[in-house]
Symmetry: D4
Amino acid sequence: MTTSYKRLDKDNAAVLLVDHQAGLLSLVRDIDPDRFKNNVLALADLAKYFELPTILTTSFETGPNGPLMPELKSLFPDAPYIARPGQINAWDNEDFVKAIKATGKKQLIIAGVVTEVCVAFPALSALAEGFEVFVVTDASGTFNELTRQSAWDRMSSSGAQLMTWFGLACELHRDWRNDVEGLATLFSNHIPDYRNLMTSYNTLTSAK
Amino acid sequence: MTTSYKRLDKDNAAVLLVDHQAGLLSLVRDIDPDRFKNNVLALADLAKYFELPTILTTSFETGPNGPLMPELKSLFPDAPYIARPGQINAWDNEDFVKAIKATGKKQLIIAGVVTEVCVAFPALSALAEGFEVFVVTDASGTFNELTRQSAWDRMSSSGAQLMTWFGLACELHRDWRNDVEGLATLFSNHIPDYRNLMTSYNTLTSAK
Amino acid sequence: MTTSYKRLDKDNAAVLLVDHQAGLLSLVRDIDPDRFKNNVLALADLAKYFELPTILTTSFETGPNGPLMPELKSLFPDAPYIARPGQINAWDNEDFVKAIKATGKKQLIIAGVVTEVCVAFPALSALAEGFEVFVVTDASGTFNELTRQSAWDRMSSSGAQLMTWFGLACELHRDWRNDVEGLATLFSNHIPDYRNLMTSYNTLTSAK
Amino acid sequence: MTTSYKRLDKDNAAVLLVDHQAGLLSLVRDIDPDRFKNNVLALADLAKYFELPTILTTSFETGPNGPLMPELKSLFPDAPYIARPGQINAWDNEDFVKAIKATGKKQLIIAGVVTEVCVAFPALSALAEGFEVFVVTDASGTFNELTRQSAWDRMSSSGAQLMTWFGLACELHRDWRNDVEGLATLFSNHIPDYRNLMTSYNTLTSAK
Amino acid sequence: MTTSYKRLDKDNAAVLLVDHQAGLLSLVRDIDPDRFKNNVLALADLAKYFELPTILTTSFETGPNGPLMPELKSLFPDAPYIARPGQINAWDNEDFVKAIKATGKKQLIIAGVVTEVCVAFPALSALAEGFEVFVVTDASGTFNELTRQSAWDRMSSSGAQLMTWFGLACELHRDWRNDVEGLATLFSNHIPDYRNLMTSYNTLTSAK
Amino acid sequence: MTTSYKRLDKDNAAVLLVDHQAGLLSLVRDIDPDRFKNNVLALADLAKYFELPTILTTSFETGPNGPLMPELKSLFPDAPYIARPGQINAWDNEDFVKAIKATGKKQLIIAGVVTEVCVAFPALSALAEGFEVFVVTDASGTFNELTRQSAWDRMSSSGAQLMTWFGLACELHRDWRNDVEGLATLFSNHIPDYRNLMTSYNTLTSAK
Amino acid sequence: MTTSYKRLDKDNAAVLLVDHQAGLLSLVRDIDPDRFKNNVLALADLAKYFELPTILTTSFETGPNGPLMPELKSLFPDAPYIARPGQINAWDNEDFVKAIKATGKKQLIIAGVVTEVCVAFPALSALAEGFEVFVVTDASGTFNELTRQSAWDRMSSSGAQLMTWFGLACELHRDWRNDVEGLATLFSNHIPDYRNLMTSYNTLTSAK
Amino acid sequence: MTTSYKRLDKDNAAVLLVDHQAGLLSLVRDIDPDRFKNNVLALADLAKYFELPTILTTSFETGPNGPLMPELKSLFPDAPYIARPGQINAWDNEDFVKAIKATGKKQLIIAGVVTEVCVAFPALSALAEGFEVFVVTDASGTFNELTRQSAWDRMSSSGAQLMTWFGLACELHRDWRNDVEGLATLFSNHIPDYRNLMTSYNTLTSAK
């Protein structure tokens, strides 16, 4: 008996960034803030890099939840941006689902704050409608590890693929030869250890 | 192949609070006591807020296990209260099951102390009778993390949905517009970070 | 769709204690030694208390693995004791399987050192032969948490029930009224927090 | 309903060592470097010991990823060695798959750096082609625990067996009597606690 | 050689609450928010209970740092309240020091956010002027444990006494007979484990 | 410049066990209960073994704090036992200090619950009166690690020696030849790893 | 007895950045790399912001230790840059000490990799020559926490002040009114939580 | 006021290896065994490399404590080897102290098992006799972190320098130019991260 490999395809994937808002970010305590900010920006950068259709949404952004991270706004000036008037599960918002369906993609890459709500609810809804769902676990944050583990268990049990931004980038890219420099830049900007490798490498090879 | 989304519906859900007794609470060491007390009271408050039928039960409350947390008693003065004479699995008590069935609900939200016994046993029994079971992982406590992980694995493998009180509240509420103030008050009372957001927000907007 | 509840039945369960040997115990580093020793003895005590058929086995006990914990030897002087001449998976030893089948029980409670070998191998073999398997996670130890998590995942994926000795005791006992004092003594001897509850309770009630 | 036991068979297993390169090793932070190096070398030693066909592969070894760990090169001088020109998923490289199929084995033991990419991608591909896959979790490393947990969840959900090098060695060996000294040497070289047991044992028995 | 015991004296102590502001509280990540909020309120309650002169101060409260926790404002309506126009070290603000000196007390109990700045700076200044300084470590918060340890080391090396609110309460109270009920109420309101003890105790003794 | 070595001398040392009461023990969360119980009993056993004068004291034992651990009562039936009527710092109780002075010892070994109060207060008082103070850190417990670290810092800064029961036993014993069997029995009863060593050793040597 | 407050004075302080080299950075495992990179750059930014004389030094930068972090090179193009030919303790290099003395400052702020060598050695040398030394603990990294704790203990015992970059910035700035925007920008660039506060604040106040 | 720098001098230092015995090693649980073994051997290698006089001692090596690690025996075949007949504090053994004094060195580098006894006792004795003491914290092990912290506090308070083997090696070597290859080999053999740096470096530079 074989298991099919749900493999990301850059021609069939869209990215959903759900509720990365300045207020809600202060609730995230399962990942340290330096790392979390880096992960979210890495995911955004890879969405740009692979030219994946990207959809932004926020919940109540004029209240205490606060505005979207400004970096996301400026990275995706032309992306559909759905400021939900009240729906907690973004999938309950018709415009959001319409925007997704307009992309024609069947693989949805989802990240958001907080994991068990803003990520899990649309992920479960999308799975129920037949989409393949890839949760970006390290660009999604929540109150603590116990909360995260519960949310992961619920999503994984329903068939969501748990991945991180680095795994996503690698699975989308497939082959370094498609663009060595582009991928290396992405890694260098978001993985200090990789940047160090490149610094040493470049110094030694340019010294030849 | 799609996966159905077992989604909480406030018109079809009941809450079971199992053995949150003063003595047994001293056994809980997988969650710090300040946080645990807050989680249990948050769950109780949300049950009140959504007017979910709630059932209280205790095990041997006249012995070392001790009396129910007084806060729960006073929050639910009219709820069915089953002081079990000896059954460890609450589902083995006819009155408890009768009280559940009397609600007519098919979705059971369960929390209790200790997780691998007072929660897991009735959860597994309810699943076997066709109920949908939602375990409130952060309002359930046990001896240590190893014990918790074992209990979660057993329940999840049998189809229980692992959730936390915050996820429950959001899934039940569906849309902020149903009652902004009510939900915000619930969050403010039980999430210090959220209260801080509201304090800053209210100060700034009332200063206008 | 309902899920059947694989529930322990004291009339249908046997206990397998695999390789709790003095040498091998020094390899256990995922559980602190005071707690681990207590968990193993608690499991042994409950096997005695519920009069479950118990089978002891060791691996190479005359070599560096060392002799069985003396406490286990003296608790079960008449239990089948299989000192395996070389088989790593106890299930590969005919005498061991014969002893199990001789009990006529279909539910096997397994604990041992180390988890991913001495527990997992016979657990997987037993599952493959149609037994119900209950792994006592806290009376089984191994090198570190990463090793434990791998082992749990493998066993759980194959249908093993992950439990702890306390959960076992409660599921086997079913109802405090079957013997309040016996169960309370078991808990008091192996759960310091429970003993404290009893000490306070007894002092206050005897003072009346 | 019984569950089949996917049991390692030394006559039907091959080992794939993916991208244990000097540069990439500096990215591994979920396992401490002393332990990780030991685990990788233990896996290599056991592959030699059981004479399992072993395949080495690297990704971009002339760039910052760096050369293969020299110890692996010298342990397997005659093994197929595929320096991939660009494919991230080793399974996308025809030579790699051809080398695997040339072994005629149906059980693949995989370890690599980093877990969610270099291990998970070929593992998922192999499962999709009907191989039995055994991931050596402790000889595979990645950025942090969150990343590891996501990768494990994805692989386990697709049917991979999560194991550690010690479990592998025991499942392959089956019976100490096949070669007591060989296995003991393997353990003594890679498990300091086991070496201590042997040191004490040998001293005492040779003193007789 | 004897060491003098710098012992708190409720007739010679004042409490300084420095910058517990809604915005700054979101920076505190070395203590979980449920526990931290509880600790701060416990300290405030004990200041009231022992009628210690208490001084409130904030930094830039009209900016992102946000307003003081409302609970503190309402607990101490008549306390000196110094909204500092810019000084980071509260001791650089003349009004603050004047208010302290006006109390005539020589023992200063200090807590604040963040530990290495809002607590450490005035603590070091006060020590340099000959005050005895008692830092309330658990009602002071900062970015992470590394930051906290650095701050503690600097303060302790200069002679500050590191204490927690519970230790403070006990050292100030000296003898339960001074007011059993008052102290017990303080503990019951802020220590869930203690409340549980009291619940069980009261139930059992009132049942006589 | 040399530093004098404050070395324990069994002819000049007394043991103070402060408030190891059934209720207060439920507050101890910085050490796991199996280990903590073992440490307290190990300290008691060594006090007996070295025949050190031992003094027991409790705080409000008829209230929620509960009775002294029964094991301590029975181990020291003839020891001075001061049930303090209200003093929190045991040193404020004249009978307690009188009992200490009656021993004529200048080295005080102190353990208790909770560390920052029941241990630290009398420790600081004793240091101020010129005693040498040895805090048994692992037989003293408190709410959490932050609390413990504060308490240790305060005591160490005042000159207390921080030790554990094992270190105490070794420093008091000086030379194994004084009584090999006695010390080995003490270790075997309270250190599972040591018992394992002895089990293997005895088996091998008796097999000769 | 008062304790003098060794307070940073921006007119009397110089910054020493020791061996933040691409190769050595891969040895740092006591702080996660995202956070560590941020801390080092924050320290560099504050040195620029306060116009503190800054001295760069490296050890063997043409070997495996690798080149200095390029960001540091470009931030301080005109700073003294001492590529040490071999001295491990930078203080043993005459040019380094000469450069320090040329600044005329008496307060030395030191950070480097690895803490117990590149930071501790010059810190101890500087203290021995009468400088005031401020170690930037969070911009200094080493192999693990045990190593860090040893290094801190050695430096603190010799009189070094342990601080973090945030504490440094605050102690140097003294008063927000000296330049609100400058300090806020520094914080916003290096403290994600603070940036979130500012984002929400700016949105709300600009919306008026 | 300056603080003197107690700096290691290879012409004035001796190494004491206390009780690294096969049995006692199984008690060490504050450091993972792979890392601990590596640290001890690294210390031994550096003692050889710097030709420091080295003294070996054991406690009761014919009993359960077991024989000295064989690697140490073979590395120092001609070193003084004191098998103590019973003294727990090695300093109480005349031969041991005589061997130390015979070296004529005033700086003692001490490591052993367990930290609070076999290291702390002779360290305190040596300090009291005017030696400079350097504790190798990472080549000394004990039961758990609490035990270690107590032991470190006691030794540090008495003036011992807490160091690790890497810091020792660097402080003894002073200048890479004294022998680049020798030091690099030491690091490469005991620091996997450093070996990786060298592997990449050598590959790139030899490829020129």
